[in-house]
Structures are given as structure tokens and as C-alpha cells.
Symmetry: none
Subunit: 313 residues, 5 copies
């Protein structure tokens, strides 16, 4: 299998990485229906940890079974499946070689009082489970942010030496940020940039709103405004990821309608983002609905934008 | 000895584990009067650590002697015996090969001011003492929860590589939880799910009440209600353990009447739970009473539900 | 990508391996034109080490360039490419993600006076270079055989823990074996079995002749003769590999005519062997000839046996 | 290449350092247009981490691309380029051997609530990326200062053993310092001296004002006043760096006009400082403007002080 | 400093190496009078270890002083200086940053009875001494060859991770080789190829004669003869180094006349070798003679071939 020129170009951005890491990035980028395009749709299932099982899976009880998510990701032709240790252990042998997996190695939960996460898996786990990457969340702005970055530093260095890729979930929160600030344009761009500076290969952030949160940043955005348009905002995030030389994907966030998700995907596609990482919006739908939605999203990233999406219809 | 189809099915859930861990799970599941049924009754004696010796053993002074508990578990035909280091060391040679043991590797005590535990034994201890598993407590919601999870991660990885099983006591507590919250349905389900995500082979939680504690979870339970019935609540916890693909046992909690315990066991049995882990309610009774109670509980899990239990009579 | 039933069946044989190793075996088995069939054609290029560069590459000087072999294996649609450290380092980044690689971690040379090999690469190398497996040669019968087996034991344990597959070249030689003995039926079966016993996932041996070499083995073969037919001899080797529950591939050996190689492949196919590992016979031909030969061999393993092969014509 | 007498003299100050560290200092001091003069101009690009991407790069969007900064530093003939992990990883292979790099191993951001930084890279990273030095920020006066100094101690010891140089950004802040205090003469001198005492090879501070901040220091400065002149203040800082036996460079600080920067450089030059470390003022200008400014600064350090600078014209 | 296109091309061959190793290769290739040409002249002074001090240095007693060799290499404008630990330690600080050094980490001596070497320095030594590379000798064909290769494997992996380059002296000897065999064409090519396979970045061999030593290799060379010409033989060695994709330099060997050395250099130049590594022939001459000889050799590699060389005149 030869890589596409697009994937070769993307790999060239990661010039300091060893061939093992490049091979795992290639594995993710060449997988599924978007294989070779440089775009990705990834299924993350860490909601059970973050929000509890019922809030995550009651809307579609089949999703309580970890095998469901492997199958959903494979059937939908996605690029990768990301989950915490137990979820990966529960299917890694059955689905060995079927889809690249990303081991989420830290996790928080709804009972936590600090804006921090526990490190819950290791590089050794990722290797024995055949994962292509580790996933790690940082909360830029949190009072625990420096500790989290230091944990990432340690585990990322080990992962890279072992030929794994590193995916960083960068979710701003903390005393300087109100709710609107967490998805503000300047803050999302900042969070994405910080992940890139920490050595992430793939960066996951939320799609930004047009809000500018940091007072110190306002003059800059007044002078160099970002057009009030979702695709232009995505393009700004892409720019913040080393001028587009790091892969960046956007989370779907809270459950929402198919049309809203597809509109988001169109903006990501148009703005040059590398794709969507969509959890709740996929696994909380019935499987046929989820497959239809994911197919529609993939069509967007393939440059096919049906007038009226089937899922939304 | 061939495994029963039920036990083979259960082992198939643990597809990422090595044969050593599978063999230790099989050893527990094939032991005693419930051997082969997929149900278990386990005797845990960590009360001395948690509550002090007199509160634990004065009601039945024979229980001050660690050998007592090995013998009780063996005579009663239980599946396993769990205890801290000293208790296991005090009988592991005499009862070598008689019953699977679970080395409780962390412990708290009544003098503690933080909601945390000390790691008090190692995987090396478990191996030299011939244990089948390690046991580890986490307190989801505690201010120390992330540290506890990180300790578990480290010791569980080592235990699994050495072919041991990992039993996780998941007891929610902390600033977001009042007393009722600690046994609330949503919180128990969450605690069980977190243990599964952390890679537990056997999960131990308390039987849930019908309370919903987390405001954020209420809409979910309003929309997907769990019937107000002990067995339905157990079934919800089972579902939260990877759709029933992880072993989950329920602690008896505070000393109570035999009938209450048996009612609990009947709910666990009916709801698809894998059994009971019953400490104080066993060893604080006289040995004949305890044996009768345990026999009655076993009968419940064997599907025999006498009109009036002998112990309760 | 779902695995084929055949590949799922093969993976089920490796029930003590972790999902990482299974994924790497799956990667090899699902790759190329024979992907999914359970048959493999692998390109090994360790001849330069074993016989020197001119004897290896002068017949086709393009093969001096390490990139040539990656490209040959990829263009021919093979399952994997195996080579020593330097050869892999020289192309692992350019061809990252294009074909599974097997890092040959020990090597001998024509100047050696002992029947031994040097360990020339590590599991760390295999991980940083993104390899799917390590390859290791043993010489059963050599005065150094026990040392070699002990080296294999150490590196194989480390490789398996890291989720890599282990390929063992098992080439009998030593004081008890004359030239004919090295490819004798009993000796080849013995060598294959020893590799299986040492924990190899994929076993590489030479196709056996009908000779029985070991006096002690003759009565057995007299009593339970193997029919004098290449395919029956292959079937005997397959049987020696745990009754067919380990992958076994056969080396092409010295340069020979295409028809001889295809006849060998037909015997391997018919006898139930898992394929060919063909070095000199591939890379010493011109690229068009090599591609034709490999296509013809693949056709044999696909069950297509042209009356007159194109390469032989 | 022979070192100049000036550089040999400078290296002689570092008499307890191993030849590896000396070689890396020499590499920095012999590089670029100021090579051999004992003066340096260094490009630091940690603004993206400290202030966010837009505030850093929107004024000159080409600077979003990490390659831009390598090229700017090389084309301008600077002595070194300093940046956090991700920025170095993104160009270290392309520009290998072209310019000494300083890996900034700790970083803060504008969302932080404590005056601290996260350690975000390691000595191992610096070695694999071919860096000549590590860079580390301390905040003397901060409530976290001792922790920061202890982190520096640990990483500096490791860096020196591996032959790397250690550059310390010493930026006073904390409860005892108001805004004016942070750049007060006594405080800058103090910060520079602390860095020297911590074993820094190159010290980076801000150019001091004439303010004396610490009440306890006032009598001393009353008695031994420093003339109210920028060059005399620089000379005082140089004196605080072991009587001029440690390299000290001055940051340009906030974006300002070319003439202001050149005036600063002239004071540094005249006061015996070793040069400028100029980030925002370089990369936020267009490349031609930045090259002109840097050329003018270099001319100052070469002792050429044009009547009217071209950049300022 | 920008790399020349030639050096960029050479670095591209080492695609699996980290930027640190690439930077050190660049440092060697960009140094001295041949900087940027892809050709090198290197001064190795391990003769004292190999032959004893008097045999090495009595012809030019100034050479007893380790500083002499640093100065010779620097004044002559060579690419690098290679020596054992003590020799490097004796000048590494004085000449820090003046010339890339190669720490010879194993050594033999004239009193040895086995064809082996002692490992006499470490990667840690190379880092603290600021070396660009380690040098390691293997004796392919020796009874100790496998042990030597295993030592190389271990130290090379560590060196590469730390960003150092690896230079391998590959000198065939042993029971299968008579004196003529040690420099035979087939054997030199084999030795060079083995070094490449072991992961060497720079390979050092002796210039080959036209002898073919290995009986097994004769048919190959009969069929694909190498023209009886020094430059064609060099070209064959270059080909054996991955088709010219590894740097290969040739040792001058025993003391000989300048004209013989220059003739050798002309053949190396014409045959596409990357240069000369010339010890005794440099440091056993008086300094003026040595400088003249080295200048003449450099002129050859610069493509300037005076009718009558000055040194030979």
C-alpha cells in the first residue's frame, strides 16, 4: 500500500519523529473511508468516565457493551477509535488489526472537585493492546494545568520513543475563564497552540465561537480580525497549529441535531481542519442513525455536500 | 477439571488478559459451592484495618485469630477470601491450596482525616503468598481520587503482567456526595463503571438505593427510569459494568439481620449480579450462625429460595 | 477493515498473546495480494549479511539500494519485508505505513567459524522503526544452539510484552548433521517443532527432502512413513508445528529456476504450508522478472495454478 | 576553526564545566555575524506559549509556521534560536546543523493563575533534537520560586553532565514586587546574580530602569550609586553576573520602535552586556524589516553605530 | 549557515535518525576545507593504543602531546579528529568548538592474543567531552566478531538516542582470512556492507586490492567482474554501502609515500568514496610535511589534481 501524496506531505511535518510514530500516524490517516485524504473522523468513547454510564449510554443501551463502539467505528469506516483502558481491553483482541486505537491515558469524572485528571493507563498498556497512539487531556488555564502538562511531557516522551503517536485533547478551563471563555476564539486558538508546543501530533479542540475572552488579546483581534464565519474561525485554529503543519480535529461537543453537526463539519472542511472527533453524537444515536450521520459527515470531508443530508432529513 | 460453559463465557470477556490472569479468575469462579455457576460469595476481612479490632472482632472473639477466617471461608464453601497483608501471612501456608486468596493491597483506618488509603502490600507479596488476586479500594469523588487511581494503575499493570486478577472496591465519597449520595443509584453505577474503565476484573460496590444524586444525571434517569425495585437497580449496575461483561459483586455493608441480607442476595441474583462479598455479617456471627447464613446465601445464588430461610428462622 | 474468518481462526491459535501481538500478526496476514487468505509471501533481505553484498546483489545491481527491496515488496503485493537493522533504517521513514516490516535481530556472515549469530538489533529498534515483528535465527544442532535459544528467549519475551510478533528462522546444522541432514525430513520437522516450542509465532524452515537423518528417528518413520511427495513432506512439517496451529513458511533457498520455485510453492500450498519467504530468488532477478515470479507464486497460493507459468515460460 | 581570543577568554570563565558544555557555548558564540566577538543576538520564540498565537503571530502571519523562525535566525546571522519543544521538533531535522538551538524546557501561559511554569521538555529531548542548550525560566520573588529553582537545579545538573549549556531567563515577580519593581535596578541585578548562583551559563534579564525597589537595598545604592544612564545600569547588571564572568543578554520586551531597540542595544554594548535576545520585536515585523533591524542591532554590537539606523529611518 | 545541497542530500539518507544525529553528521560534513562537498579527510590517532607510543610517535616526537593532533587537524582544515578517551580528554576543553571529535570507544593493543577489542569509553564520555560521534571497530571474521557486533549494537543504540553519529571501523581478520584476504576486494566490500547493516552512519574500511578471497564469492566476481583499477574497486565498495547511500571513508594504512597516498585519494575521489581517514601518514611526518600532504589530499577531493603534487615533489 502506497501512501497518498497528501498523507506523505502530512508525515513530512513530523520530521523529528521516528519511523514508528510516522507509521502509526500513517495507519490512522490511511484507514477507513477518508483514508488518504488527510481528513479524519474519529470515535472517542470516554464519556462514561467523564459523565457516568447512564448519561452516556442510556439513550442507546447497546452502547453499554464496549464491543459496540469498536463495531460502530469499523462499520462507519472511521479512522480511529479512542477510549480509556477498560474499554480498549474489552475488545482489543477481538478487533485486533481492524482499526487503529488511541488509548486515552488520563481521565476525569463528574465527581471531581479539581480541574485535573488521573493518569489511568501507560505506554506499556498501549503497546500490549496494539494501540497506534495515546490520548491525553490538558486543561490550559486550570490550577492544575502545569502538573497535567508535566505528566503529558513524561508520557509523551516515552510514547514517542516507542513509536506511538500522541493525541492531545486541549480543553481550556479554570479561574480566568467563564463558560463563554472556554470556547472563545482566542482561547481555542491558544489551547491548540499550547498542545502543538507540547509536541502533540494530533490536536483536539472544540470548535470556537466568535467570542474573544482574554482582555489582553482583544487589541490583536481588533487589528487582525477573524471574519465572523465558522469556517474562518476554524481556519484561525488551523493557523494556530503551526500554520497548518499539525493535524487538528474538532470535537462535536454536546448532543445536537444532525444538521448542526454537518454544518460544523462543513465549516471544518472549508476552514482546512483535519476532521471531527465525534462521541456522544454518534453512540447516543441508534446504530442506523449513527451510521447515517457518520456517512454524511464523511461525505462532507470527501467534498460531497448533499443539499439536504439524509441524517438530518 | 473442565470449566463450565458459564465460566468459559465469563473468561472470554477478559480477552486482553494473559492466561495467568484467566487461570486465577477461573480458580475463583470454580471454587466452593458456587463453583462453575458464575456467581460468587467472597469473605473479606479488612474490617480490622478499617474499624479497629474490637469493633470488628469483639462480637465473636474467635475471629481475632486470622486462621478463623480461612476456616470459615473454606468450611462455608466460599469462592475466595480477601484480607490485608498480615491476615494473609498468618494463614497462607497452613491453608495453601485450600481457597483462592485476594490480597487487599491498600487500606484506610478510622483515625484517617483524608479520604484516602495507604498502599500496604505489593504484587510481590501477592505472588509469594500464592494469592489469586489483588484487591484495591478507590474512592471516586474524594479529593484524593486521582492519586488513588494512579496508584491502582501502577499496581494493576504489574499484577496483570504477573498473571494476577484485580479486584476493585469502588466506594464513592467526597465533597460532592452526602451520605445518601454514596449509595445513590447513579453514583453506584458510576463508581462501578469507573472501576471497569480502570481495568478491574472484579468490581465491588454497595447495593444502590433508588436515590439519584447528581443533578446532571437526573434528566437521564427521568427519561430512562430504573424501576423502583432492588433487582432492577442491581441490573442497572450490572449494565454499567460493560453491559454485563465484567464481574460485579456487592458488599453486605453494615451488620444487619439475616433476612435483610438474603433479600439483598435475592435481588443481586435476580438482577444478574455475580454475588456477595460479605464480611462483618459473616465473621461477627458465631461460626454456626455464620455457616448457616452463608449456606442460605449460597442457596439463593444456586436458585433455591426457601420460603423461610433457616438462618432467619 | 474486518478480518477474514481464516485470519480470525489463525489469530485464535495465539491465545496467550496480547492484542498488540495479535494486531501485528493480523497486519501481516491482511497485507498485500494474499491478504486475508492465511497464506503469505514474504521478502527477506538478509543475504547481504549472510553471503556478502556482491554475491547477493551483483546479479541485479539495483538491489544494492535498500529502497529497492521496500519497493519490490510493496509493488509485488507481498505480506511483509524482513531485513537487518541498517536495511530497515534506510527506508523505514520513506515507506512508513506501506508494508509490515520484520526486523532481523541476529545475523551471521560467511567469515564466521562458529555456527552462531550476533544479536545486531533490539526490541527498542523494532519499536522506533515501526516494525511488526522481530526475526531471529536459531541453528538447532549447532554447538552454539543453546546460547542462541537463550538469546531468543530473552528478546522474544521482551518483544511479546511490547506487542510485537516473533518470527524464527530455524536452520539445523552442527556436528551431528551432514549436508543432507540439514534438509532431512525428520530434521526439518524437528527444527520447526523446536521453533514452535520456543514460542515462535511464525516459523521459517527449508522445504524438506525425503531423507531421514537421525538414526533414532528411522524406526518411527519406518512405522509411520511420510509419502514420498513434496506436498506430503510439507504437510508433515505443518503437522510438526502444533498440528497446523502455528504459521509456517518455507524459504526458497538457493537461486533456482522459476518453475522449480513454483513447483515448491504448489507443494507448500497443497501441503497446507502458509507460504514462501523468498529472497535471492526475488531480488536477484530483474524487477520485471521478480514481479512476474512473485505474481505467479501468489497465484499459486490463491489457488490459481496456470498450466504454464508466465515467469517460467 | 580556531576560537577567537575573546571566546577563549569567555570559555575560561566556565572552568568547572566539561568540554561538551564548553563546545556548545563555543558553538553559540562562534555562530553568525557576531561569531567570535563575545556578543550575541538570539531569537527566542516562546511568545506563542506565553501570550497565545494570535498576540504573537497575527502581526506577521508568516510567523505561524515554525520554519519561519529558523529561517529568520539563520538569514539574519544570529547566534542561536530558542523555542519550546513543538517549535523545535517542527524544524530540527530540516535545519539540523544550521544554527544552535536552545530548547526552552519550561513554559507558562496567559491563563495561569500562579507565577510558575510547567516543565515541558527534557534533557533527552534536547539531545535527540541536537540542541546546544536548554533554557529555563525562574521567577525570583514568586511564591513558587523555590520550586522553580529546584526544578532548574535538577534539569541543569543533568544537562551539564550531557554537555549542554544552560540558559536562565530570570524574571522577578511576586508579592514583594510591584510593576516598577520587576525591572528595578536592584531587582534586575539581584535576579541576574541569582541565576549566576544557580549555575547558569547564559543569563537573560530585562534591561533595568533606575528604580530601586527593595527598601533594604536603598542605603547601599545611596552610598554606591549607579549613574542614571542606561549603559551604566547595564554595567551594573554585568557586574552582578560575577564581575562580568558570566554571559548576560537582555530581552527586548514589548514591541517597540526600532530606534528604541537600537538605543537599548547601544547601552548594552557600551555597558559590556553580551547582547540581545529579541523575539516579538523581530518576528512581529515583516521579514525584510526584521532582517534590517537585526542587521542594525548586529552593527551596534560590532561597534558600528550608524548616525541614523536604516531600520529606524 | 545553510547546508549545501550535497550535504542535505547525504542527510536525507539517514531518514530514521533523529535531528541530533543529523546535526552531528552535518557538523562533520560542513567542517574544514572540504566542508559542504560531501567529502571528508579525518585524522584518527588510535595508533598509540594499537601499536604503542614509540612505534606511533617516535618518528615525530611532537606527536606524543595530545594537543598536537587537535592542532594538526584544525590547521589542516580537516573534518574531524578521532581518538581514544585519554587523547580526547587531554584537549577537549582547549579545543572545544574547534573541530568535531569522534570518541573511539573500543581499542586493542599489540599485546593482545585475541582478535578483539576492549570497550574503553561510553556514550556518557562522548557527551561530556562534546564529541560529534563515537567510533567503534569490528573485526568481521574474527572468532570474537559476534561479541564485538553485540557490543556495537548496544552502544550504537544509546549513541543514536543521544543524537550522536556512529562511525564503524570494519577491519576483516580471522581464521578464514590470510593477509591478502584482509584487503581483498570481496572482503572489503563485505566488511563495509556489514557495517552498514549494523547501522553505521560513517563506514571506515581499507582500500581494497583486486584479490578475491572467498572461494564462494569467486563465481560472482567472474560473472560480474570489477575492473582492475583502484577507482573501480572503490566504486564497488561504495556500491556495497547501500548503493552509495552511506558515507564511506578509507584508511591510509601503513606509512607510505605521499604520492602513493595521493594516488589512493584520487582513486577514492574518482570512485565516489567520501574521503580519507589518515593517521600515521599524517602525524608521523613533520608538521609542515603533514600539512602539505593533507592540503594536497584535500585538493584532490576538491577536484584539483595538480600534475605533480607539492608534497610528493
Amino acid at each position: 500500500m502506497l501512501l497518498t501524496p497528501k498523507v506523505r506531505e502530512i508525515l513530512s511535518w513530523y520530521e523529528s519523529d521516528n519511523p514508528g510514530t510516522k507509521a502509526n500516524l500513517a495507519r490512522i490517516l490511511m484507514q477507513g473511508k477518508l483514508g488518504g485524504t488527510g481528513r479524519m473522523v474519529i470515535l472517542p468513547v470516554d464519556q462514561g468516565f467523564e459523565h457516568g454510564p447512564a448519561r452516556s449510554f442510556a439513550p442507546n443501551p447497546a452502547a453499554y457493551d464496549p464491543r459496540y463502539h469498536f463495531e460502530l467505528a469499523i462499520e462507519a469506516g472511521l479512522n480511529a477509535y479512542a477510549a480509556p483502558l477498560g474499554m480498549i481491553e474489552a475488545g482489543a483482541a477481538t478487533y485486533a488489526g481492524c482499526i487503529p486505537t488511541i488509548l486515552k491515558v488520563n481521565s476525569s469524572n463528574s465527581l471531581a472537585t479539581s480541574k485535573d485528571q488521573a493518569v489511568t493507563a501507560t505506554v506499556g498498556d498501549a503497546l500490549r493492546l496494539g494501540c497506534a497512539a495515546i490520548g491525553f487531556t490538558i486543561y490550559p488555564g486550570s490550577e492544575e494545568q502545569f502538573g497535567m502538562m508535566e505528566e503529558l511531557r513524561e508520557i509523551a516522551e516515552e510514547a514517542k520513543a516507542a513509536g506511538l503517536a500522541v493525541v492531545v485533547w486541549s480543553y481550556p478551563r479554570g479561574p480566568m475563564l467563564d463558560k463563554a471563555g472556554e470556547t472563545a476564539l482566542d482561547i481555542c486558538a491558544y489551547a491548540a497552540h499550547v498542545a502543538a508546543l507540547l509536541g502533540a501530533h494530533i490536536i483536539k479542540v472544540k470548535p470556537p465561537t466568535g467570542v474573544i475572552s482574554l482582555a489582553a488579546a482583544k487589541p490583536t483581534y481588533d487589528k487582525s480580525p477573524v471574519e465572523d464565519d465558522a469556517a474562518r474561525r476554524i481556519a484561525h485554529i488551523v493557523q494556530a497549529c503551526f500554520g497548518g503543519r499539525r493535524l487538528v480535529v474538532f470535537s462535536g461537543g454536546e448532543a445536537k441535531g444532525a444538521e448542526a453537526l454537518l454544518a460544523e463539519a462543513r465549516a471544518i472542511h472549508e476552514g482546512g481542519g483535519n476532521g471531527s472527533i465525534v462521541g456522544r453524537n454518534a453512540f447516543q444515536r441508534s446504530k442506523p442513525d449513527a451510521l447515517q450521520l457518520l456517512a454524511d459527515m464523511i461525505a462532507v470531508y470527501q467534498g460531497q455536500a448533499p443539499a439536504v443530508t439524509k441524517a438530518a432529513a
